[in-house]
């Protein structure tokens, strides 16, 4: 600790250079944190996906529908605990940019399958008893200022009502919260029985199934059993773990993770050059002073430590401020105004950030530090 003053004084020597280096490190870590939150939004749910849940969809594509009768058939398969279906409604609320997912579901079964959706008992009761009732996630409700009791009109793009009417009206009977930080609270859920009866066509067809299995260890086995049960039928299935399904969904947008990693890698490569250059100068300019430190009794390693310490203070300060700014920016809200299902920097990214700080410090500082360590007093003092 007593050496920190020395390290700090040395950093203050070239104020402009230190500030610019610090600034570039701050920007890099800010970008890292912010992109981390965006990546998390696209990969939403993968971290919190139930290990005991499978997604069963049409073998050809997610757009192809499956019979609603598969539900009871699947529930008879060995190892399957429960199955619920969902369908993509794809309606528009007021204007197309107000995007959020709307799904017709069987309320009771659905809430049982997804215990992470939290409703009060009164809200549940109201939903079970109101045919046109719907519930919305907290994020979407807040986004549009909805309150329980509101009537929400949604324009169908895929599913018109009988007679061709496109506007569906729902009564908001509940607003659910997420049990975990990663829980999607943007969904709008309404009753399948109402939907199925009122829609113009497609009766008896659903989008996909979520299946809970008894033993997560046997997920692959049960998935294979489901697919073989419907093999050679008119609607063959593809069953996979929820996590894998969500990953595949995210990948449709492009490999977000890869794009982000590329950007971050390029940015970090640049700051390594900047920080490395700063550290190289810091040692070159001070050859004489470092030799004097050795002359008065600092060890080779001690001087090496001082240089690395400088690098660490630079990276640590820049990294900490950068991550803090990213966190502030992210808590101000997502850039799409609320369409992203979740928007936060996952704890994992803070840990990776800390590791990156150490890595930047080491990579930028190691060569100059070794140069300082090897400096011979008698040679250096003659210059």
């Amino acid at each position: 600790m007593k050496y920190l003053y020395l390290v700090w004084s040395n950093l203050k020597r070239a104020k402009m250079r230190t500030s610019l280096t610090l600034l570039s490190i701050i920007v890099a870590f800010m970008l890292f944190g912010y992109l981390g939150a965006i990546k998390q939004a696209f990969n939403q749910g993968i971290d919190v996906a139930g290990l005991d849940r499978l997604i069963v969809r049409h073998k050809v594509s997610l757009i192809q529908l499956l019979p609603a009768s598969y539900e009871s058939q699947m529930e008879q398969i060995e190892g399957v605990d429960d199955a619920v279906h969902q369908t993509w409604f794809g309606g528009v609320y007021q204007k197309p940019s107000n995007f959020f997912a709307q799904l017709p579901v069987e309320p009771e079964e659905y809430l049982e399958m997804f215990p992470e959706l939290l409703l009060t008992d009164e809200e549940k009761e109201a939903w079970f008893n109101t045919r046109t009732g719907a519930i919305a996630g907290r994020k979407t409700a807040d986004r549009f200022g909805w309150k329980v009791g509101d009537r929400i009109p949604i324009n169908a793009t895929i599913w018109p009502r009988k007679g061709g009417e496109r506007t569906w009206e729902f009564d908001l009977v509940g607003i659910y919260d997420g049990a975990e930080k990663g829980t999607d609270t943007t969904q709008f859920l309404f009753r399948f029985d109402y939907f199925d009866e009122a829609r113009q066509n497609g009766q008896g067809l659903v989008g996909w199934y979520t299946v809970r299995i008894k033993d997560p260890e046997r997920a692959a086995e049960v998935a294979a059993a489901i697919d073989s049960r419907f093999a050679n039928s008119s609607s063959e299935t593809k069953a996979e773990p929820e996590g894998a399904f969500l990953q595949g969904f995210a990948n449709q947008v492009g490999d977000i993770g890869f794009i982000m990693m590329s950007i971050i890698a390029a940015v970090f490569f640049t700051i390594l050059l900047v920080a490395g250059n700063t550290m190289a100068y810091a040692v070159r300019e001070r050859t004489n002073e470092l030799a004097v430190l050795k002359a008065i009794g600092f060890t080779d390693r001690g001087v090496m430590g001082l240089v690395l310490g400088e690098s660490l203070v630079l990276a640590g300060l820049g990294g900490a401020v950068g991550l803090l700014l990213a966190w502030l920016l992210v808590s101000l809200g997502d850039p799409s105004n609320g369409s992203l299902p979740v928007f936060y920097i996952p704890a994992r990214d803070f840990i990776i950030g800390t590791v990156l700080i150490a890595a930047v410090a080491l990579v930028a500082g190691i060569l100059p530090a070794m140069q300082a360590q090897r400096l011979r007093i008698a040679d250096a003092l003659r210059r």
Binding site: K2, Y3, L6, R13, V292, T299, I377
Partner: protein, 232 residues
């Protein structure tokens, strides 16, 4: 290091060879030197004769190519780099021609620097640095940065830094070489006082006969050897 009478430094049959590429430069050859405890020794000799090299060997800043360097009963040429660094911190104070102060640190912090290597508390370090600055007559310049001090004042800070750990041996390489006559005389007064009143053993390299006159003995280095006479 033991105080009192006796020999503090004993250099026996020392060679020092520098390699510059394939070329070998023989600077010191078969050099012997004994410095009694409490002596103020002046080293003179033409430029390039190896005065600084010899001083570096005595202070453990460099190692002889051959021969032994014993200081205070310790064969310092045998010590590992790490131990040698610790030994320097404890026993040697260095004063340079161009002061070699840290420009980013105040006078006070410059003087404290060698104390960072000790286990002294922050308060104790501060106190000792203040005492050292007082001894060199600079207590009113504690918080000044080197660039705001005159050459003579900077050299006093340098001396304060050299004595703050209370070493037995002070090695000064042309301490007045960069100063005008008056400032130089003040520095010499100071060194003389440290020698007489505090019993510091001092080895001072100088080109100035007036400076050498302050010492208790003067030796001349020429062609790798020491002598008591300046020979041409």
């Amino acid at each position: 290091m033991t105080q009192g009478s006796g020999d503090l430094v004993q250099i026996k049959n020392v060679d020092k060879v520098f390699k510059r590429g394939s070329e070998e430069i023989h600077v010191l050859g078969g050099l012997d030197l004994t410095i009694p405890d409490g002596e103020f020794l002046a080293l003179m000799g033409p430029s390039g004769s190896g005065k600084s090299t010899l001083l570096n060997l005595i202070g453990g800043l460099d190692r002889p190519s051959q021969g032994s360097v014993e200081v205070g009963g310790e064969n310092i040429d045998q010590l590992s780099d790490r131990r040698l660094a610790a030994w320097r911190a404890r026993h040697v104070g260095l004063v340079f021609q161009f002061y070699n102060l840290m420009p980013v640190l105040t006078a006070q912090k410059n003087v404290e620097l060698p104390l960072l290597l000790t286990h002294l508390s922050r308060a104790e370090r501060k106190k000792r640095a203040a005492i050292a600055l007082d001894i060199v007559g600079l207590s009113h310049r504690n918080h000044h940065f080197p660039r705001t001090l005159s050459g003579g004042e900077q050299q006093r800070v340098g001396i304060a830094r050299a004595i703050v750990t209370d070493p037995t041996l002070l090695l000064c390489d042309e301490p007045t070489g960069d100063l005008d006559r008056k400032s130089g005389d003040e520095i010499l007064d100071l060194l003389q006082a440290l020698n007489r009143e505090q019993g510091k053993t001092i080895v001072m390299v100088t080109h100035d006969i007036h400076a050498a006159a302050r010492a208790s003995r003067t030796l001349y280095l020429n062609k790798g050897r020491l002598s008591t006479e300046l020979e041409e």
